[in-house]
């Protein structure tokens, strides 16, 4: 990957769902770029584990909260803003369990809609006073499945489409306040979760091969390269971008190979 460097010294970021995958990669990359990073995950232990992996120090804040609850987003923001400042909010926390329509029960539907859509809304709402002061920036981690659908994933596809529409509404409402809001739409990433799914499939090689074929570029994304793009969106290089839903999906939504 080409080296992209940004300097976020003095800036404070909250990354939700930072325990692993893209959330962890984004927290890591922001921290390396000099930002103070508030790490959200469901438990204090998990947040502390991330902080330990990143080497600890004063620029890492634990912000544990269960975002599926109504109070969770408020708690996460309160911890992240203990020093009175927030510049960047990255709504990354998500769940993704594939289910056919018939097997999609209320609990499954509610969990996806709560974590992906409702929590992102409530976190922005809680962070808004701080983002107004800093003329800050929101990045919502959507998915290529916010732009098109696959079968057996109705709750996730609905929630991610909603997240993109929510991003646009926020971008319009907050533009006069100097707050930018954008969404990125990653394709399949080679995360720990992906590796677990591949193992569980019993045939990791063909599991990966199928996903590689699905993306015209012929491979999965690395969380680090997607995180690097999140940093681009937070940077002055993207100062004129707001309300965008950027596909970073190896060409998946662009056409058919």
């Amino acid at each position: 990957m080409a080296e992209v460097t940004f300097d976020y010294g003095g800036r404070v970021a909250l990354v939700t769902g930072a325990g692993r995958g893209l959330g962890f990669a984004t927290a890591k990359t922001l921290h390396q770029a000099g930002a103070t990073v508030a790490v959200n995950d469901r438990t204090a232990e998990s947040c502390q584990a991330v902080i330990a992996r990143l080497g600890g120090g004063p620029r890492l804040i634990a912000a544990p909260a269960d975002l599926a609850t109504t109070d969770g987003p408020v708690q996460a923001v309160a911890q992240a803003t203990a020093n009175g400042r927030l510049d960047f909010l990255i709504n990354n926390a998500a769940v993704n369990v594939e289910r056919p329509i018939a097997a999609t029960d209320d609990a499954h539907w509610d969990q996806h809609l709560s974590v992906i859509l409702r929590a992102s809304f409530l976190t922005v709402q809680a962070a808004l006073p701080f983002l107004r002061s800093s003329r800050g920036c929101i990045v919502n981690i959507a998915s290529e499945l916010g732009l098109h659908a696959i079968a057996n994933n109705v709750a996730y596809v609905s929630a991610k489409h909603g997240l993109i529409a929510m991003t646009k509404a926020m971008a319009i409402e907050l533009a006069p306040s100097g707050i930018r809001a954008n969404a990125i739409c990653p394709g399949t990433m080679d995360t720990e979760l992906m590796q677990e799914c591949a193992r569980d499939s019993g045939d990791p090689e063909s599991y990966y091969a199928a996903f590689n074929r699905y993306h015209p570029i012929g491979r999965l994304a690395t969380p680090d390269e997607v995180a690097a793009f999140v940093l681009c969106l937070l940077s002055p290089a993207a100062a004129y971008m707001t309300g965008a839903a950027v596909a970073i999906d190896g060409g998946s939504t662009a056409g058919r190979l």
Binding site: I101, D106, A159, G162, A165, E173
Partner: protein, 252 residues
Amino acid sequence: MTEFAGKTILVTGSTRGIGAAAARLFLERGGSVILHGRRQADVDAAVARLSTTYSGRVRGLSADLSDRTACRALAASIETLDVLVNCGGIFHEAAIAETSPTLWDETVAVNLTAPWVLAQSLLPKLRASRGAIVNVASDAALLGYAGCVAYCASKGALVGLTRALATELTPDVRVLCVCPGPTETDMMRASISVAPDRDKARQQWASYTLLNRVASPVEIGEAILLAASPRASYLTGSLIMADGGATAGKRV
């Protein structure tokens, strides 16, 4: 015209507005229509209005769309179905800071979860008839508007629901989404009535469209009928933008 003769169509939110216009068009073209509204009295009045002309082809059911159990009971009371039109929806203006969790939840429940629950519950009947689902979203599914974040999110998600259902249910059931632009309904009138300058508010709605006017409910009803019609047999997963060009370009 008898395009919908022998077909049974459920139109949610059809005691007024776009749903009422669509229901009347389905009846005009031979269909049997199940009207739906939240209050039984409104449903009874709508059924009475249409029964004089379309006797034997109109009935009505009431259900609170924010209540999943009520949605499932509604679905269970229907024996056969050819077309499900998810038209019931709510719109409340509220800035991000003023959108309470309750307002968020109610908006998502009615505009997104009710269409999902009805689609899932009625699926066996729609498969049996090789039917169609028409979700009525909004241009706000694709265009962000200030002051209605919950509405925009719920309608965007409804587009996702449309695509996910279309992908999974093909070729048995076609699933389409009609996205109306600003339409002369009670929903819009309510929004205009609280504006400081009503004429300006009305003109602002119109100005979002290339046609520079708001739609009549019948114009949106026609798009819904097209989506539901066998003439649209190669349309599935599509958005029909009945928005006066709002998403196509911007008047400057």
